[in-house]
Each structure stands twice: as C-alpha cells, then as structure tokens.
Amino acid sequence: MGTGADVRDILELTGGENDGPISKKDLINSDKKKSKKTTETLTFKRPEGMHREVYALLYSDKKDAPPLLPSDTTQGYRTVKAKLGCKKVRPWKWMPFTNPARRDGAIFHHWRRVAEEGKDYPFARFNKTVQVPVYSEQEYQVHLHDDGWTKAETDHLFDLCKRFDLRFIVVHDRYDYQQYRKRSVEDLKERYYSICGKLTKVRAASGTEPKIYIFDAGHERRRKEQLEKLFNRTPEQVAEEEYLIQELRKIETRKKEREKKAQDLQKLIKAADTTTELRRAEKRVSKKKLPQKRETEKPAVPETAGIKFPDFKSAGVTLRSQRMKLPSSVGQKKNKAIEQILMEQGVDLNPMPTEEIVQMFNELRSDLVLLYELKQAHSNCEYEQQMLRHRYEALLKAGSGGGCGGITGAGTLASTPGGDAQSWPSTDDIKVEAKEQIIDVVGAPLTPNSRKRRESASSSSSVKKVKKP
C-alpha cells in the first residue's frame, strides 16, 4: 500500500510540498481557502454536504434567504474525511516515562510519538485522593482523647481511611478484629467524624465559625435496625400487612359512606323543619308585622328540599300550565310516589292551572317529595338499627364463647348505631369468624337498601293495581 509520498521517500526524491512530519491541520482542516469562497456566494446555494431535504426544510424557494453572515466558518455540513497517507509517517519511539502520580519515580517504557516527548503523562491528573486529616501526638493528647478508643486503634482507623479513601464499608471489613475490639460501621464513622469536627474547630482561626459535619450515630443505628427487620420479614408477615392495609381501606370507605348518608339525612331533616316553620310563620304572622323576618328566613331554606320549580320569566305569552310542569330533575320513582299519594288523597293529577292552584299544587308536590325522602331515610335507619342489633347479638354469642373482648367491642358498636366497625388485629379463631361476619354484614347494606327501594316501588305499583279495578 504505497502512496506517492512513501515512494518518494523510499527513492529519496524531494519535491513534495510541505515536507516534514504531518500535522493535524494538514489531515483535517485543509479546506480553509475553499470555505471562504462559499461564504461569498450568499444566495440560495445549499452548502455542500447538506442533504437536499434538510436544505428544503430550512429554505424553501420564495421565503427568507439564508443568513448573510454564516456563524460557522469551519466545515459546515461536510463530513470530515481524514486524509491518510499523504505525508510521511510520524515516527513513534519506545521511550521511558515517569508517572507523576507514582511515589517511587519508577521508569516505565511505552510507545509514544516523538513530537510528544517531554510532555507529562496525561493520566496523572486523574490521581485524586480524599483529604484525611492528620493529627499530631500533641493534638491527640489534648483534644482527641477518648475512653473507648486507644491511640493505636485511632491511628489504625485513620490509616485504613486513607488507604481506602473513606469507604467505610471496606474499612469496616478490613478492620483488625484480633488486635482491637469489634466495631460496627457506625462506631467507626462516629469516631472519625467527631475527630474531624474537633480538629476543624481547634485549627480554625479564632473568630471564624467553621462548618462541621455532624454524624448522628444513634439515628443511623436505628435506621439500620429497622432496615434489617424489613429485610427479614417472612412472606407471611408481608401478606398479613397487605391484608391489613386492604382492611383499613375498606373501613375508611365505609366510614365515608356512612358519614355521607348521615349528612344527607341531616339536610333532609333540616329542610323539612325549615319548610314547616316557614309555613307556620307565614300563616301566623300578617304581612304588615314581619316582612323583615320572612326575608331573612327565606334564604335559610336549603335547595335540596323538595322540588325546585323553575321560575321562568319569559317575554311574551306563556301558558300558566307550563309552570305546573314537573322539572326533569325529579326521578321516576319520586314521580310515581307523588302520583300514588295524590291518587290516594283523591287529588286530581292535573288541576286547572289558575294562579293560586298552580302555586299550591307545586308546593304540595314539593312537600310530597320531601315526605317521600324522609320516609326513605327513616326506613334506612330502621334497617341499619336492626342490622346492628343482629350483629350485637351475634357478637354476644361469640363473645361469650371466647372472652370478654367481643362484648366490649359489641358494646361500643351498639352504642353508635351507624358508627364505625372496629378492626381487630387479633388472630383468634372465633374473633376471626366474628370479623368475617361483620364484614359480610356491613358490606351488604347496599343490596338491602336497593331491595327496599324496589319494594316501595313495587308497593306503589301494587297499590296501583288495587286501585285500578
């Protein structure tokens, strides 16, 4: 594989320009002249080496011109090709070198370019060490004396720290147990950091507050103990913990449901109370005497009570019967209930829409809905009370079989009808059964409620059936 330059070299002909060893510039950056030319042509020529599509993305025909002053004066998009073989080979020499990172000044040999003779060994700069403080005998006697540590042991510790660059785990591994006592990693760290702290304090110039790294050995020990326990858990313990977490979640959701129900109930009751009070207040008091009270009482009526009839003020002509129409927010069941009660009482389902009748009819229906809701809530509460009573009795039986814990639990349950179920972490067989029972029973309230609703609906339909013939 001879190139022109090599052949000339062998035949000892002169004539090649730039004789002598090749430099990096010759190989790679030989196009400076050419690049200047391309910068002068400012128009839409795409730079050599740039792909057509890339150029099309940047500069389409009629849009902006490329910038006048290109920022990059080197190669641009051209891929650099190293021109090998054009000049004489740079000679390599087997030369000795010393590594400044070594302490003994040993001389090794390696191949290196002649041009780089004399330069430092480049990898020596990677020789970084950790700064481990060194104390004198005097300093030790005065400041660093400790009962648990002899001077020899402290020296050994510091020697290891220096050798292993403060890798305490390795230090702990190589610590001499036969000669000194058995130390844990926290002991070693504690001693080291306390010495460092004291030395910085002592050596700091007076007036300055040096920053000291405080090592909390107690915390580290506790943390590691806890990690050990966590690590050594058996699969049964893990499964038990999972189970308990799930139980907790179930209980929390149930609690929330119950609270929500209670709140709804309260709203209903409040609504019922306020509407009745309003009515009474209106009947009792004449208009003249208490106009102000009425105004203040009215906003207290919660919106959820009964049906809110839309009060539309439309321009132009409207039929009053539109006002009598039930809003679509009233559900099917409530509708049915209203119809049923109206029929029972013998009230016409669609009365003549005079002003007074319309208003009273709306009020009546609103009250009917309220009544219906209250009845529902009442039956729910009754049902829950029954359930809890059953549970209490079941627990009594279970409690009498296996101790008094069940009774106290059941006692607290009975006292809060609608209260929370208690989760018992004990693993007694009987109590586990009772727990299962509780879970089954409490988990079921949804179905009986819906059953109850269906029953009421069916009862209304059954009433209808009776009425029809």
């Binding site: 390696h110 370019r113 390795v170 893990v238």
Partner: protein
C-alpha cells in the same frame, strides 16, 4: 494522542486451568490445564509422567509458559496475576520491572462493567460467593462451598459405576465397533501401550468424564421431581469406547446436588450449602445498606456455571429467597469464553487502563518494602 499502554502480561491461575496472555486483548492466548506433568526417570529407561508429583518444580512450568506459549522476552514486561503466590519468584528469578496482584472476583466484576456486585464463581474445586464493593473485596462476606465441577465429576463417575460401564480413555483404544444402545462396548485395545502411571490414567479418564459432564448434564428449572424428570427429553451420548446410551432422569439428578445438597449421595451430613444459599448467606453477612447494590448485580462466572439451565435455576432460587421489594439482576455472559475467562479479561482491561500505571508495584518498591507492599497496594 498516543498509546499509553505499557506492555503487560496477565496470568490467571485456577485449579482447573491456567489462562495467560497479553493485556489489552479480549481473550487469553494460552489456556491449558493446571496439571504439572513431571517426568520420572525409571530404572528401565521409560519416562512416565506423574501428575500428582512434587510441586517443587513449579518454576519449570512457568518457564514453559513464558518462553514457549507466549514467546515473550523477559525484560521490560510487567506481569499481572490474580493470585498471591509466586511474587518472590517473579521478581527475583525473572527480573521483571513491575508486578501487580488482584483478586479474581474484582476482575470478574470489572469484566462485566461493574465495580460493585456479588461475584458467584463456580469452578472446578469450589463455588464461592464474593461480595465486591467499589472495587474492593469484602473479605468477611466470602462464602465457600466445595460443591462444584469436581463434585459433579465424582457423581458422574459413580453413575457409570452403577451402570457398570467402564471408562476407557481414548489413548487406549485402537478401534471400536458400533453397538446398539445400552449394550456393552466392543473395542480393541491398542498394542504396545507404554506403561503409564495411575495418576496419568486417572487424569485421562477424568477428561472423558468432564466431556460427558459438559455435554449431558442439565439443571432443572424447579426442585427435582421424579415425575417431571422422567418426562424430560433424553440425550444420547457415546463414550470413546463405543458404549452409547440415552440419559434421561440422571442428567437432571446429578446437578441437583449443587442446588439442593440434602439429596446428593456421597456427602457427609447435610451441612453443605446449595448455590442459592451460598449467595444469600454471603449477602446477608454484608452491611444492609449495600445489599440492594449486591443483589442488583450478581455476576455469574466460572466454567461450572455453563451447565445448561444453571442460571435460570439460580435466578429462580434467588428471587424466591429475596424480599419482594429487592431488585434482583443476574449478569451472566452467554459465551463460554467470557464466562470461563472473565477474571483474565478483567485483568486485561485493568492493565490497559491509563490510570492503572500508578498502581504497579515496581521492583524498587518491592526491594524497599518487601511482601507487605502487596497487602498495601493490592486490593
């Protein structure tokens, strides 16, 4: 720019084979068994070779490595070895300029790109689990078990004895006829065989058994079960003397002893640890803060781990034994070369680093410090 590589030789002396070569290459140039053949002179003039002989001739063997296998001039070459013995020999006998020792576990980890991990080395004589942290071996966590390649060979030998099959090494066979499966072999012995020593004959038989071991044995995925094993496909194997047979359940039963020594025959008591236990015990002896790091890079090396199914079974066992939150990663190279020679490859990598040049123990340091400088400078 320039190459800063100092010419270096790397030696890895194991109990089964010695690997030797140049630093910077990706596999050793010389890989030969660690058995010293010493020729004895007998009265009748024959010179049989005795393999279990006196080890005092070790310098003769290393002489063999140096000049015949590697063809290396002895000046100006530094030597790196993963073993601790022979340093004095190196410096004084061979006049080398620099020397370095490194534990093979650390080098195996380096060869796999890790400086922290648990190195599980299952070779010929031992199975060891060595925790390596930040490039240093934690000596208090090393767990050793003698259940390894040689143990397998012994069990195979017993299997053949049970089947009453004779192991005939190839050097004795002049010709053989093909026989049906399972029927006794018919072969003709070579005439004019030299009078070989028993140790050499044993060595040759061992070679046959090791070949059987490497090709036939397999580790099952789950703990050994008779019915499952009976359903596994059989492997056909032919011994040098012509005896051929299909091996089914036995090929799973024998390596089971590595993982579950309670059923293995020939073991005194049940105090041996299976491979999975070796690993977990070793990690358990380390500080809890580094355990996730160790489990996250379990490096599997050693010739014995090349048995089919070894790494899968090991993975399964470890994932059962570790807590579920622990991330477990097994690093096992797939090629034979990399797994058997990973310590050598690590040495080659280390010796070719530019930053390694400050770690050599030069002749001058050795003269000043003696053997203690090895303890100080080598991890």
């Amino acid at each position: 720019m320039g190459t800063f590589k100092v010419g270096a030789l790397v030696f890895d002396i194991g109990s089964y084979s010695v690997r030797a070569g140049y630093a910077g290459e990706d596999c050793p140039k010389a890989d030969f068994p660690t058995v010293i053949g010493v020729t004895l002179d007998r009265e009748d003039g024959s010179t049989p070779m005795e393999t279990d002989g006196d080890k005092g001739k070790q310098s003769g063997t290393t002489y063999y490595i140096d000049t015949n296998q590697l063809r290396v001039p002895r000046e100006n070459m530094e030597v790196m070895s993963p073993l601790k013995n022979g340093m004095k020999l190196m410096f004084e006998h061979y006049n080398i300029p620099a020397f370095f020792l490194c534990k093979s576990a650390v080098l195996s980890a380096f060869a796999n790109g890790r400086s922290t991990g648990l190195v599980l080395d299952s070779g010929a004589t031992h199975t060891t689990a060595i925790p390596v942290h930040d490039g240093y071996v934690l000596q208090q966590g090393i767990v050793k078990s003698p259940l390894a390649g040689d143990f397998m060979s012994m069990q195979c030998r017993e299997l053949f004895q049970e089947l009453s099959v004779e192991i005939i090494p190839p050097y004795m066979i002049a010709s053989k006829d093909s026989v049906r499966e399972g029927s006794p072999a018919s072969w003709k012995k070579k005439e004019k065989l030299p009078q070989v020593t028993r140790s050499w004959h044993n060595y040759m038989c061992n070679c046959v058994i090791q070949d059987f071991q490497a090709s036939v044995l397999q580790v099952s995925d789950s703990p050994y079960d008779e019915q499952v094993a009976a359903q596994m496909p059989t492997v056909h194997y032919e011994l040098p003397n012509g005896y051929n047979c299909d091996f089914g359940a036995e090929r799973l039963k024998i390596p089971e002893g590595l993982f579950d020594p309670s059923n293995a025959k020939g073991l005194s008591g049940n105090t041996m640890l299976g491979v999975g236990h070796v690993v977990t015990t070793s990690v358990g002896m380390c500080d809890i803060d580094i355990r996730p790091g160790l489990y996250g890079s379990v490096v599997v090396t050693g010739g014995n781990t090349l048995i089919q199914g070894f790494t899968d079974r090991l993975n399964r066992e470890l994932s059962q034994k570790t807590p579920p939150s622990m991330r477990l990663k097994l690093i096992a190279n797939n090629t034979t070369v990399e797994r058997r020679f990973s310590a050598w490859i690590g040495g080659s990598i280390l010796a070719s680093l530019g930053t390694f040049q400050q770690m050599w123990i030069s002749k001058q340091e050795y003269e000043e410090g003696g053997k203690q400088c090895v303890d100080r400078k080598c991890p």
